[in-house]
């Protein structure tokens, strides 16, 4: 990334009564391509750059950001910081930090990805669409088929001496197909997220999406009742992502987490371990330093079912006399510093799906849930979600099931994990990159007819 010289800004900040100031710059260049009907239907070229400043005035922190970097006026930037700081009422003194630590230098940018030409990437997307149609004549349409990649960086500099920058790149592919038979319609989708082009397998993605749609064509609903339930790796990761806010010390301290006061206690089954690992190669959540410049490291958040730590930034750590866990996070240059996991996942076990199903005997295998932004409450832990999957009888996966809901309480569910499979999978990155293997739950509530 291009370096910013900041002396003038830091000097002016002092003059205007902003004691300490920090600049955060985020930038990215992306392209993505959507194919339809064997041609490029949509092509996008994106370049994004924004700057935010945060600064301390009378012990409070104010934030401001802009995307108009050509027209920045320093005085205005600083007075904006000051005005916002002036209305803050944080109970404690806020700080800007410089620890002068040497963070690791794991390479996050795979330059090999840039060596693959745009044409090859477009050809990959076209091939993926073609393969989807060739799998089964019941594949009626490929309604989304895309490849995209983004390369960018972030840079943090402050008046105490912090000066860090990091670049990374990531690519993704997504396909969604529509299967049709006798007036019945089902969709299925699949994706890959990685910065290693070799991880993108057009045939595997097309097959996975097609199988998901085809498997559900004959689906029926089922009777309501409580059942043993196997959650697929993607579904379990979806839930973990939705409830990951409960592990944020910010939410704990704000009285918005049911895990408050539970450190050192059993909060999950004995076989449960949850890990936050910022240093995994090719993973979207990896980073050498967090958004306050703290060096990141691997942590066991839950070990043998015992809650070991919350995720902290500097501010929440200080409140409890603890160090930051390197989880300070800004969604982008637009957001204030908050807390989020990095690569956050349930540690895989040893069971295969068929062993888990055999252990279950009878119940439900859920392979898809919908409406995650609405059907769950991250504070209470309650969830009720539209779902589909398969009935399980006599230790075998039987007929497809749809138009049901699965409901329960996430914190109760963590205590009721009967076995953990080996099929760890990471889902599309959100705030943090979350993964899980498939997990078997003792009892969840299924509603159908």
């Amino acid at each position: 990334m291009e370096k910013f010289k900041t002396e003038a800004l830091f000097e002016l900040a002092q003059k205007q009564g902003v004691e300490e100031i920090e600049i955060y710059v985020g930038e990215s260049k992306s392209f993505n391509v959507r194919v339809y009907d064997a041609r490029v239907e949509h092509f996008a070229l994106e370049e994004n750059r924004g700057l935010s400043a945060r600064g301390i005035s009378e012990n409070s922190m104010g934030y401001i950001y802009t995307e108009n970097l050509n027209g920045i006026r320093l005085e205005e930037l600083i007075s904006g910081v000051k005005e916002n700081a002036d209305i803050m009422e944080a109970s404690e003194k806020e700080e800007i930090h410089f620890d002068n630590e040497k963070c690791g230098k794991m390479e996050l940018k795979n330059t090999d990805l840039e060596k693959i030409t745009e044409e090859e990437k477009i050809a990959f997307a076209l091939d993926m669409e073609k393969k989807a149609f060739s799998i089964d004549e019941r594949i009626e349409a490929v309604n989304y088929c895309l490849y995209g990649e983004s390369s960018g960086g972030r840079m943090i500099m402050n008046s105490k001496g912090l000066d860090l920058s990091e670049e990374k790149n990531i690519a993704f592919a997504f396909i969604s197909v529509v299967a049709k038979e006798d007036g019945k319609v089902k969709t299925g989708s699949a994706y890959t997220v990685s910065n290693e082009f070799g991880d993108f397998d057009a045939e595997a993605l097309a097959k996975e999406a097609a199988r998901k749609a085809l498997d559900q064509l004959e689906a029926k609903t089922m009777a309501s009742g409580s059942r043993k339930t196997l959650l697929s790796n993607e579904v379990s990761a979806d839930l973990l992502q939705a409830f990951s806010s409960a592990f944020s010390a910010e939410n704990v301290q704000r009285n918005l987490s049911l895990l408050k006061g539970r450190l050192g206690e059993r909060v999950g089954s004995e076989n449960l371990a949850i890990i936050d690992d910022p240093l995994l190669p090719n993973k979207a959540g990896s980073r050498n330093f967090d958004d306050e410049g703290t060096c990141t490291f691997k942590k066991n958040v839950i070990e043998n079912g015992i809650l070991k730590t919350f995720l902290h930034n500097k501010k929440t750590g200080k409140k409890e006399g603890l160090a930051s866990t390197g989880n300070a996070f800004k969604g982008s240059y637009k957001s204030p510093v908050s807390i989020a996991p990095t690569n956050f996942f349930i540690s895989p076990g040893t069971f295969s799906i068929s062993e888990a199903v055999e252990n279950m005997g009878g119940g439900m295998y859920i392979t898809d849930v919908q409406g995650l932004h609405a059907g769950l409450n991250s504070v209470s832990g309650d969830f009720s979600l539209s779902a589909s999957g398969f009935a399980v009888r006599g230790g075998k996966i039987e007929e497809a099931v749809h138009q049901i809901t699965v409901a329960g309480n996430y914190f109760d569910m963590l205590m009721d994990i009967e076995c953990i499979c080996s099929d760890l999978k990471f889902i599309m990155p959100g705030s943090g990159h979350v993964g899980s293997p498939s997990i078997l739950i003792g009892k969840l509530d299924i509603s159908g007819e």
């Binding site: 750059r49 916002n84 409406g371 409450n377 509530d445």
Partner: protein, 479 residues
Amino acid sequence: MSMALTMLLVFIGGRNKMLKANVIRGTLDAALSKGADFSEIFFENKRNQTIGLVGGLVENTVSGQDYGVGIRIIRGTESVYAYTNDTSAEHLKMVAEKAALALEGKEKTTVLDFRRHVGTPLIEILKYPGDIGKKEKVLLLKRAHESASGFSDEITQVRINYLDIVQKVLIANSEGLWVEDERVRTRTSIQSVAESGGEMQTGHFAPGASMGFEFYETIDLGKYAREASEMAATMLHADFAPSGKMKVVIENGFGGVIFHEACGHGLEATSVAKGTSVFAGKTGEKIASGVLTAIDDGSIPGQWGSAGFDDEGLKTRKNILIENGILKGYMVDRLNGKKMGMAPTGSGRRQSYKYPPTSRMTNTYIAPGKNSFEDLISSTENGLYAKKMGGGSVDPATGEFNFAVMEGYLIENGKIGKPVRGATLIGNGLSILKKIDMVADNLSFGQGMCGSVSGSIPVNVGQPALRVESITVGGRKER
């Protein structure tokens, strides 16, 4: 000295002016340089302010400026989109030329003379957010906090998030369209948490409008704050919702989320154009119960989902989607309209310059019917009264949708009974529309953010209370 630094230190005057006509013409021209039918530029300059209170104290506040240009090029039904934050004439030209390379054609179109249109606002903004002191905004939120936290001893936390936006846009295209529009919006969300015996429940309310700070003179924010707390406290002592298929009465206002998910998304040209919507090819057919009339209207003054012009520069208008159960039309944007052979309906929307526009909902609602709310309840022997709703989602290709009930009550012997906790309701759009058998006369709106291919945009959902004769309720209690 690097470029970036030079720009940072030079204080450029007039930086918030809209782009000049010759820059726009040059960019549109460059976009057509490799042969295309159409080029468009979307310039956005948006100021926003957020203030967050936790426990009655201001915990975060951000002022920001979103600023950038999106360039769209269309040839036939193929499109290219590019965006950048660097709006200098040379850079825009370079981006446009680079984008043009992705769409090589033969015929070069020329840019027609601009016909300038500066939008007359749908509603006069009386108090621009920027003219109101931040302390005055904080005062408003503190009063709301008092109302929420004072509701009962069980309320252990209240979070309030305030937002105001002034979005200026300039949309110009190679057909000579030139539209300038300004959208002013404000919203305050209140979340209350009630806690007792190791359990927590939440309540939520988030009123918003396309208005300035005067919005808060037209509503009683304290009343909404108390309602959020009442909901949290009620749910703390509520039993699980029932499970299985039953009759459900859905309250007015945000209850309209059922139509938004069950049908609205399926009527957006985004999914109709490819024939993958369950509603594709069904205009003129009876797709819903005869008591159902549904409308999308982006031109209602002051409403959260309104704007004078859409994000393709067309005037917004009232579009009748379903009339007495008959499908009348879709919500259509320019590109999908071309694919479908239909005229656009002022429905092209996008979150920001970062997204190409596509057909989206604005203020979508079910028209009032003839029954009273009491009729709906008294004619339902047993079922669920869904009083407060959350969001939902849909797969337009299958029509399978879901939405969340946040606060419910049992209906027993035609009367509203005990409160029950949240549950998700699921169904299939085509079949559920035929099962709406009663519509009340008490239309109102609720505000939400709708996420889809062109980003997250403000929308209203609305309806009078209505009854669905049978829908699956995802509760946790067998009946």
